[in-house]
């Protein structure tokens, strides 16, 4: 599709944000492979990781084409530094225990289903197509994480305490999910992407309802992380990238 000279770099930046979210969260989930508490969850977390990394790959390919600078999807994933990543701070948080991983996932999935549902309406046909496919996947991701939040929160005293602790730890990173900036507004006005801020109320409603049903209390933490989309990150991202990127950086162009 024809993009104006200002839309092209804007859409590229936008695609990186959402590809980075999926790559980083997918990588985090893949760290559970072989370590999950039960076999079914080992498979589930690896499957979700695969979906997210596949979605990232599709978005990076589109980003590379939109940028038109000869970079590949692998260049975008493996040859950028932490301050060039635009993923949410939420998704780079360490796995912690199982409750922490599932709480991070639930907060993200509840947003992602809404985001992708709207992104399917993009006036950019390829972006709409990638979103349509991902939307189907996000729905069963959310069913999975939501069921676990209910089971852990309303489970044993131990699981309840851990789920509450995870929520306290992660709540400060959740506000950014539906936080729109100038780039969002510009592209939304052109019909290319959804109005992110408009998703906030329904996200909050579902999250609040599920947490209440899980007997978990909303934290009073007034601090709200911000700036991820401008490249501000917690210290965890650098370690994650160091591990994820070491091979292609050490052996540029390696093939197997």
């Amino acid at each position: 599709m024809e993009l104006s000279d200002t839309q092209r770099p804007a859409l590229f930046s936008y695609l990186l944000r959402h590809a980075d979210d999926r790559l980083i969260l997918g990588h985090r989930l893949s760290e559970w492979c072989g370590h999950a508490p039960i076999l079914e969850e080992d498979l589930a977390l690896a499957n979700i990781a695969l979906d997210l990394i596949g979605q990232a790959s599709n978005l990076y390919q589109l980003a590379a084409a939109v940028e038109g600078a000869g970079r590949s999807e692998d260049d975008l994933a493996f040859l950028r530094n932490p301050d060039e990543f635009r993923n949410l701070q939420l998704v780079e948080q360490p796995n912690g225990d199982f409750a922490m991983t599932l709480m991070r996932q639930f907060l993200f999935d509840a947003y992602d289903v809404r985001f992708l549902e709207q992104l399917q309406q993009s006036s950019h046909p390829e972006l709409a197509g990638i979103a349509g496919k991902a939307f189907k996947e996000a729905q069963y991701h959310l069913r999975h994480s939501q069921q676990w939040i209910l089971r852990l929160g309303d489970g044993t005293p131990e699981s309840h305490e851990r789920a509450q602790q995870a929520l306290e730890e992660l709540w400060r990173f959740a506000h950014e999910l539906c936080e729109a900036d100038e780039l969002d507004r510009e592209l939304a006005a052109a019909g290319l992407v959804p109005d992110l801020a408009a998703l906030a109320d329904s996200w909050r409603q579902q999250v609040t309802e599920v947490l209440a049903a899980a007997t978990l209390a909303l934290p009073h933490d007034p601090y709200q992380a911000s700036g991820s989309r401008q490249g501000r990150h917690t210290e965890h991202l650098g370690y994650l990238l160091a591990e994820m990127q070491v091979l292609p950086r050490s052996y540029p162009g390696a093939q197997w």
Partner: protein, 162 residues
């Protein structure tokens, strides 16, 4: 191009029906009892003279079989003297509704319960019992879910409905 460019025995230009028929013989790499045409992965075949374009759609965003499928398609067509250009489409997104009825039967005979739109318990592919239970929405490949039959105690997979 003139007839002189094709000495005797030059292959005739491929037809769309001919290419579809060749692709019928490409099995899914994970579930070889069904072909990629049975599953609805092949979306379009276009022939313009000797130029052939095949459009494929992935089942899941991260399906690891996607590259293997592209390679099998290329090899199958090359064996028959056809160099095809491959395209990927995401829209409309792949759905299990595209799986052919005959392929559903083959999935069942293979021990994988075919996708079901209707609600309610899934029949066991081994003993037909409806006393079955969903164990997990995630299985050995992105397209399958894990179930268990409470009658014959056999665990089984279902091609999940998307």
């Amino acid at each position: 191009m003139s007839a002189a460019d094709f000495p005797e025995g030059a292959p005739p230009a491929p037809s769309e029906a001919g290419v579809w028929e060749l692709l019928e013989a490409v099995p899914d790499p994970e579930i070889p009892v069904v072909s990629i045409v049975d599953l609805g992965i092949v979306r379009k075949v276009e022939c313009a003279g000797a130029a052939v374009t095949v459009t494929l759609t992935p089942t899941y965003s991260g399906c690891p079989a996607t590259r293997a499928i592209e390679q099998s398609v290329r090899e199958q067509l090359q064996t028959h003297g056809i160099e095809a250009a491959l395209k990927t489409t995401f829209s409309p997104p792949w759905t299990t509704d595209w799986i052919r009825p005959a392929a559903r039967e083959r999935l069942k005979a293979y021990g994988i319960s075919p996708p079901e739109r209707r609600r309610g318990p899934l029949p066991c592919p081994f003993c037909e019992s409806l006393e079955t239970q969903l164990q997990s929405e995630f299985g050995s490949t992105p397209c399958k879910a894990l179930h268990r039959c409470k009658s014959c105690l056999q665990p089984f997979e279902q091609f999940k409905c998307v």
